[in-house]
């Protein structure tokens, strides 16, 4: 709302986040320029000032060229960059950039497809003139020099005119007086280079001085309600609550584990975060003598992501599977594989509102029709457990802006439906009852868990507020803590998630606050509660200059009050309140004390915004363009074509998981969602009001692709990839435009919303069947935004003939001979 420009890329915000989009509309009304970069002209584009169509998978080239535009034109916010980023860090002589390594950085091992980052570590010297040839700023300049508007045209299909319009707008809407925000969603993340897209945007925003300031930032729109919450208190295999890493087998002690987390900055207080977590989980059983039960935590020895797990199921390594609010038979990439995998389980528990495809695959899946699966030969015992919806239970949502909002129960769930909390709690209770008296070491962790929550009503519903209080944390006297600053590493405090500490400060459920914006300041701190410490903008120390003064009156947010000797402003300062701007840390200081008074990025070990990332990323210290795993183009920038570290899974005879070539699969296919439906359709295809609004699966094609392939609007098309073939109605639309790539010809892109499956009021083929198992190496997210396909008019074959069609294409593509 306070932005002068909003660039929405990799997101269809109006369709997928319509409620949040009201603030974009409001910003536009206040004069902001709205730019939408997307392969399709969507409902977001309809309200944007400028829509620029692009090729899926070219985002690093586009963003990198914007960086190049900023650096080569001297448009960076120099004072901000020098003071607040690691631009001045000098890199070692051994460091080899992708610029000199044909697209690879120093330390690459082709055998393991991974990097050793030893040569990426800064020397410790800094050059505040930013002129040293090995300083990050100069390395950045060289690295991005080849990201030119011409290459943007070749890789993205964006004309130099459109590109320069965007670049000029960005530059004019950044600086002391103005700010630009970027908005992305899964259009950036669901790629083998997903993390690199966000990294490139982060570099751009740091160079333009748009981080930590009102109207700036990079907004990560999440997939659905409380997905932010499910990473904060994670359902991820490699994280503990509050972004603490999951222990590894070699973390033989708590001390050893802590050495993996930085000592300086706010991660320096790591011991208090972890020990308080262990105290929350294991209570009195956690003592200094037994390492606070650290040994009871699971260890991860490698990739246990969802795709690896599914392949393990196929190989018979996994017996049972719980699905809570997830419908992989429709919603996960390679949905066909997901169904084949579930057919190999001994048992499967599906908790959902209705009998979704993942609970019905054994009798009603495409594989039953093709004969690949036979109901009487599937040994999986499926338990369908009806779940309560969000209006049938109390609890919090944590949304995109890190804000927790409490929702009250509106009505009782029907019949046997129960809340997730009820199920987890009572399941735990029953397991613990079964294990009572066990002396086995492996059961000790479960038996030591604090597992007592007040129950109410006939159904013995556990109190969600009691769980939130545990998450908030308590002191030795049982008092609810006011924030994470109170946490101790000696076992005297307990806290279920350090970043959420304070959400129940003063014994008040801060997340349930609903003071209207008309009755409070424009930052609206009394609506819900945002982590950490109710800060609405992270790293907001950067909204003031190094001396602690706002960069401009227009963008004043927090500042140093010299008289009072503290930081103050419109928001809760994201900085130690009493640390003056000229504070210089003692040599060798640890924790927050190691950061200076002008180091705003307090979660970084050096307090600086990371233009160059020397540790923590699998795919290089600087973003580098690689083609998607399946692409009709070769890399226009480097010899290295696709991501050297992307994770693809070994092919299995049943998986059809190899990647298809562009000769047989000439078109780009991308998948997405519609306003009218919710993800895999379990909450929308089952409701008449929503089902009727988008009743059938369709593909969106340009008029010229329709002409090329003889597709008719409203008719049927069959879409074929190396994995599967599906049918969809045809929507011929001028909103999808072919891209003319100089020297390459025309790129046609086909759009497919992925909501349909075999159950519900409206049914259709499952788009995710088309996609391979290939993932980003950092976060294991699948590349579901881009693949290659063919399309032809008419419905797909039925029965075994469907498999024949897929195989015919595979043979033509040479995929079957590869065996």
């Amino acid at each position: 709302m306070n932005s002068d420009c909003i660039v929405i890329a990799g997101s269809n915000m109006a369709e997928c986040h319509p409620v949040a989009f009201q603030w974009v509309v409001e910003a536009k009304r206040r004069g902001a320029t709205i730019i939408h970069v997307d392969p399709r002209f969507t409902r977001t584009s309809a309200l944007a000032d400028l829509h620029v169509p692009n090729r899926v998978g070219g985002d690093v080239v586009f963003l990198g060229a914007l960086i190049n535009h900023v650096l080569s034109g001297g448009h960076e916010f120099r004072e901000y960059v020098t003071a607040y980023t690691n631009a001045a860090d000098i890199l070692p002589e051994e460091y080899v950039d992708a610029e000199d390594g044909a697209g690879l950085f120093s330390g690459y091992d082709p055998a393991t497809r991974s990097y050793d980052n030893a040569t990426w570590r800064p020397t410790g010297e800094r050059d505040l003139t930013l002129s040293h040839p090995r300083c990050v700023f100069q390395v950045l300049k060289r690295h991005f020099a080849r990201y030119t508007p011409e290459r943007v045209q070749r890789a993205c299909g964006i004309s130099p005119q459109d590109f320069s319009r965007i670049a000029a707008t960005l530059v004019s809407c950044s600086g002391r007086e103005r700010t630009t925000a970027w908005v992305y969603a899964v259009g950036w993340t669901q790629h083998t280079t997903g993390v690199q897209h966000i990294r490139t945007a982060a570099i751009l925003q740091l160079l333009l001085g748009n981080m930590g300031r009102p109207g700036g930032g990079i907004l990560a729109l999440r997939g659905h309600a409380s997905i932010q919450g499910s990473t904060d208190i994670p359902t991820l295999f490699d994280l503990l609550p509050g972004y603490l890493p999951m222990p590894r087998p070699d973390d033989v002690s708590l001390e050893r584990y802590l050495t993996r987390i930085p000592d300086t900055g706010f991660w320096g207080n790591k011991r208090s975060y972890l020990v308080s977590l262990l105290k929350a989980w294991f209570g009195d059983a956690a003592t200094a003598e037994n390492d606070f039960c650290f040994g009871a935590l699971p260890r991860i020895s490698g990739d246990h992501g969802t795709y690896r797990t599914v392949l393990d199921m196929i190989e018979g390594k996994i017996k049972g599977y719980f699905l809570w609010g997830q419908n992989p038979a429709v919603g996960s990439a390679g949905a066909r594989l997901q169904r084949l995998a579930m057919a190999k389980l001994s048992w499967l528990v599906v908790r959902d509102l209705t009998v979704i495809e993942s609970a019905a695959f054994w009798k009603n899946s495409p594989e039953i029709a093709t004969g690949e699966l036979r109901t009487d030969q599937i040994g999986t015992e499926v338990f369908f457990i009806p779940a309560a919806s969000h209006v049938e239970k109390g609890g919090t949502f944590t949304n995109t802006q890190r804000m927790l909002q409490w929702h009250h129960k509106a009505l009782d769930p029907p019949a046997d439906a129960r809340s997730d909390l009820w199920f987890a709690y009572h399941l735990g209770k029953r397991i613990r009852a079964r294990l009572a008296g066990s002396t086995a070491a492996r059961d000790r962790g479960l038996l030591n868990l604090t597992w007592e929550y007040p129950e109410s009503g006939e159904e013995a519903e556990p109190a969600a507020e009691a769980v939130l209080q545990e998450v908030n944390g308590r002191g030795p006297d049982g008092r609810l803590l006011s924030g994470f600053a109170e946490l101790k590493g000696d076992g005297s405090t307990a806290c279920g998630c350090w970043i959420y500490s304070g959400c129940f400060a003063g014994g008040v459920n801060q997340t349930a606050r609903r003071r209207p914006h008309t009755e409070q300041s424009w930052v609206a701190p009394e609506w819900g509660w945002a982590w950490p410490a109710n800060r609405r903008i992270l790293y907001n120390r950067a909204s003031a200059d190094p001396a602690g003064r706002p960069w401009s009156e227009a963008k004043a947010y927090v500042w140093w009050d010299a008289e009072a000797g503290q930081w103050t402003g419109h928001d809760v300062p994201d900085f130690e309140r009493g640390k003056p701007p000229d504070f210089v840390p003692e040599p060798g200081a640890a924790g927050p004390a190691a950061l200076g008074g002008a180091d705003p990025f307090i979660m970084q070990r050096d307090g600086k915004g990371a233009l160059f990332v020397s540790a923590g990323l699998a795919d290089g210290p600087l973003p580098t363009h690689y083609e998607p795993a399946e692409s009709p183009l070769v890399n226009a920038l480097y010899k290295q074509d696709d991501s050297p570290v992307a994770k693809s899974y070994p092919d299995h005879p049943a998986t059809h998981n190899q990647l298809g070539g562009a000769a047989v699969y000439p078109f780009v296919v991308t998948t997405y969602r519609l306003t009218e439906h919710h993800t895999a359709g379990g909450m929308s295809r089952t409701l008449s009001r929503l089902a009727e609004l988008q009743p059938e699966l369709f593909c969106e094609v340009s008029p010229s692709l329709a002409a090329l392939r003889g597709l008719e609007n409203g008719g049927w098309a069959t879409i074929i990839t190396a994995r599967a073939a599906i049918e969809a109605r045809v929507l011929v639309t001028r909103r999808v435009r072919p891209l003319r790539i100089p020297g390459e010809g025309v790129i046609h892109q086909i759009g497919l919303p992925y909501h349909w499956g075999s159950e519900g009021m409206v049914t259709g083929d499952t788009v995710n069947d088309l996609l391979p198992f290939v993932v980003d190496p950092n976060v294991f997210i699948q590349e579901s935004k881009v693949a290659t396909c063919d399309v032809k008019p008419g419905r797909r074959p039925r029965g075994p003939a469907l498999t024949d069609l897929v195989m015919r294409y595979r043979r033509e593509a040479g995929l079957e001979e590869d065996r």
Partner: protein, 312 residues
């Protein structure tokens, strides 16, 4: 205060106190919808909220088919669809690949509506217009004027509603509506349309569609205030270069005496499927009665003359 109106203003022309004219001595201010299509994101929350609140019948699951008309699968206002979001795609057809199958892009899409873009053109002017249509709650509502049973009435809020327990299904209203809004349900034969959530208004709440609209494209309030807001919005858009913006149904001197639900459009009304100059179909009722009366008199005279002429 009893409002005095001539026969002409009861059926046509400016009428400032429509509720007073309908006989409400004391009444709240006339309320309405201002639908600003320039901020509509086509989310259809209005359609869903309307159907939920008013408990409109479910569609028959067996007949749910993609319309092929952009993202519009509701297609029109009807007896069980009281809000309808229209989607209009505009812009050049692409000039991408040469046609191979003998079809040209224009063949696939129908006759070309715009010239082909040159492949080198910069950011072609593609537009996707979205507009949530609804009953206009006309100042001069022909549906109400023609209703023989009194099922259609003017409320104290100045809106027009059907009393379903009085409707006999004659469908005079259906043919009388200049916008094609009101419609009969096939199963019970009665006529149905938007009530502007009369029950919610009675309870001091805004209509469900306006409540659900995330971008305030649908605004609800006293009609006088909405007209002021709308005029300012048009000026704002004109100032920012959106010169196509215009109001539809906001003029109390138009053919229906101004609509209770009016719109800000970005193109000609016909583009949205709206009649360009709607006129209340009962406008000429007095004249028609006069002619009909004359004809009847002539008939009587003729019959009399015939009888008279039979006498030898």
């Amino acid at each position: 205060m009893k409002h005095q109106a001539s026969v002409a203003s009861r059926l046509y022309g400016r009428l400032d106190d429509v509720s007073g004219e309908a006989g409400y001595a004391e009444h709240p201010p006339r309320v309405g919808f201002f639908t600003d299509t320039s901020v509509c994101i086509g989310c259809k929350a209005c359609e869903v909220a309307c159907k939920e609140w008013n408990a409109l019948p479910d569609p028959d699951a067996g007949v749910l088919k993609l319309s092929g008309e952009s993202y519009d699968n509701t297609s029109a206002l009807g007896a069980s669809s009281w809000r309808h979001v229209a989607f209009i795609e505009q812009g050049p057809l692409d000039a991408g690949a040469p046609a191979a199958g003998g079809l040209s892009p224009a063949d696939v899409l129908g006759p070309a509506l715009a010239g082909l873009a040159s492949p080198d053109s910069v950011a072609p002017a593609t537009r996707w217009l979205m507009a949530s249509d609804v009953c206009k709650h006309c100042t001069h509502a022909a549906c109400l004027d023609v209703c023989p049973t009194g099922a259609l009435v003017r409320t104290e809020f100045g809106t027009v509603i059907v009393q379903s327990d009085v409707c006999n299904g004659c469908a005079y209203c259906v043919s009388a509506c200049p916008f094609g809004v009101i419609d009969r349900r096939e199963d019970d034969g009665r006529a149905w349309k938007c009530t502007m959530c009369y029950d919610r208004l009675r309870g001091g709440m805004e209509p469900a569609c306006a409540k659900a609209c995330p971008t305030d494209s649908i605004q609800f309030g006293p009609l006088d205030e909405l007209r002021v807001t709308a005029a300012a919005r048009v000026q704002e858009l004109h100032a920012s270069g959106v010169t196509d913006a215009r109001l539809y149904g906001a003029d109390p001197d138009d053919g229906i005496g101004g609509a209770g639900a009016f719109f800000l459009l970005l193109d000609e009304p016909e583009v949205y499927g709206l009649p360009p100059n709607p006129v209340v179909t009962t406008k000429d009722l007095p004249a028609m009665w006069k002619w009909a009366g004359g004809a009847a008199a002539l008939l009587v005279a003729g019959v009399a003359a015939a009888f008279a002429g039979r006498r030898p």
